[in-house]
């Protein structure tokens, strides 16, 4: 079972590399895509080393990228991470209120993962949805004009998705 899983994910990893024609210029594309399919949605040292070898760059280069860019993670992430925009256009349209609701509903502080491993939230800089503040990002999806009701609804929807393939 475990082996099968590893094989499957190796095949996925390879197809991501092929998709970018093994171009070093697409290092970040590759890491972002890999992160999506890796367990825990993070890049572990094994994967980082593999990327370095495939692209012909040093492991240091890859790990530098992993620490420099905020979208890349080396630690396992919650299944659903709510990213709240903290830049001023959103922040002063009640982004803190969003954090308060999430904190209360999920019973965690910023950057903490819920006991079931499902949820976490954090503040991030602007992601270009400033006309819809307060805005949150969940993976590649953006949800704008958040209210307490819409947040609770979103959390519910995530709970329903629990157990399905990421």
């Amino acid at each position: 079972m475990n082996n099968q899983f590893q094989e499957l994910s190796m095949e996925k990893k390879r197809s991501i590399m092929r998709c970018y024609e093994f171009r070093r210029e697409n290092l970040l594309d590759i890491l972002l895509d890999l992160q999506e399919v890796c367990p825990g949605r993070c890049i572990d040292t094994g994967t980082a080393g593999w990327v370095a070898r495939e692209l012909g760059v040093t492991e240091t280069k890859v790990s530098e990228a992993l620490t420099f860019y905020t979208m890349l993670h080396t630690e396992p992430q919650a299944r659903f991470v709510f990213e709240i925009c903290s830049s001023t256009p959103c922040f002063f349209t009640k982004a803190q209120g969003v954090a308060d609701v999430l904190s209360r509903e999920l019973e965690v502080k910023e950057e903490e993962i819920t006991k079931d491993g499902l949820f976490a939230f954090r503040f991030v800089p602007c992601f270009g949805s400033c006309a819809e503040g307060p805005a949150i990002k969940l993976g590649d999806e953006v949800y704008g004009n958040m209210t307490e009701e819409s947040l609770k609804e979103l959390i519910e929807r995530c709970r329903e998705l629990e157990g399905t393939e990421p």
């Binding site: 210029e25 280069k61 830049s87 602007c126 270009g128 400033c130």
Partner: protein, 437 residues
Amino acid sequence: MNPLIYNIGHQNTEYRTPRPRVLLKRVGCYQDPASVEEYLGLGGFAGLHRVTEMEKTQALDEIDIAMLRGRGGAAYPAGRKWKHLFGMKAEPKYIVCNGDEGEPGTFKDRLLLEEDPFSVLEGMLIAAYIFGAESAYIFIRGEYRRAQELFRRAVKSAEEAGYAGETILGIPGFSCRVYVVSGAGAYVCGENSALLNTIEGRTGRPRVKPPHLAEFGLYLKPTLVNNVESFACVPAILTMGGRAFLELGTEDGGGTKLVCLSGHAKNRGVFEAPLGTPMREVLYGSHYGGGTATGRPIQFCHFGGQSGPIGFPEQLDGLFSYQDLWDEGLAMGTGAVVVMDDSVDLVEYVRQVVAFFVHESCGKCTPCRVGTMRMLECLDGGSVERLEEIIEHVTNLSACGLGQTAGCAVGCALKYRREQFERRALNGVSGIDFHRS
């Protein structure tokens, strides 16, 4: 003046007619924005056809006459930049489109990339033709995975129709491959030399300049870096002519400008305003911002993202043009206008701005790495004089535009509303209730 709005909601695509004229004219007209057939049906690639019928120097003259200023923030005249690069002898030359759009409060590039990607691609291909570039790159921030995917499809579609790739338009020797490269969440990557480092697979920290990128750019070859909106203006200039483009705007900057209204504006979204529209119309006009959502008075506007200046109502009687803004000590920047009503605490606001720079400093040089942190500490409890001193240091000693502009907003606030800082005696702005806005 025909004001134009496109509300960039995901579900609520809304237009206020009259229809946009230049940059937004095709937005919302597509079934699939990545289909080259549809783009052609909407009059696309006319600029590319046009440039291939002209002398290259004549095309450069048109862009010069149009007085297109860079839309990425620095407002450098594109005509001058292009002519400078044209004079460079080294080969190959590279075309790079800056789609990092990291400035908070800016979301116009995303709109163009998602709703009319070909207009940007056409601008890049026109540049590729003029400079004989065989590779063009577009760097799109990691937060815009959708836009990246769409742009890749658009490039593919253009290649299949002979508008990109090998022998474009059947013209021998006109070949250009277009590559889409992603960022992964770092504001500083938008700085043009950091952007090139990122594309080369290096970490996105700025380079020491000079040398100029027109001389030693991507892979140390002559390189053109322009913003997404700047590139989207280029086909329009070539189809309508430089003079007509200039006349849309003002002497010091031609064309229309995408304005991103956010914060407490009643109508938030991307608007297309001819340069030279009265500022008050942009802020209060019913076709534009419409004042504030709550009806409270506007306390201040933050221009051009976090790195830009803050303007107070007494500074906002001029035109929405490059020169009028400069005359007031303000700047257009990216076209972001963050409107804040009087419920906001100004000191708290600038604290949040500084916190952004603390987070985004790449750490390469000390004045910025340490200085931004000191600024924040001062705002959390320090003297006004000390704060001013640090702002001066950070502004003058930092190596790149990030550090040099980190103190801009605080500086403006101090200059015009010093008493608010003194009253607080900077005794800590934390612990303040953030929910009132």
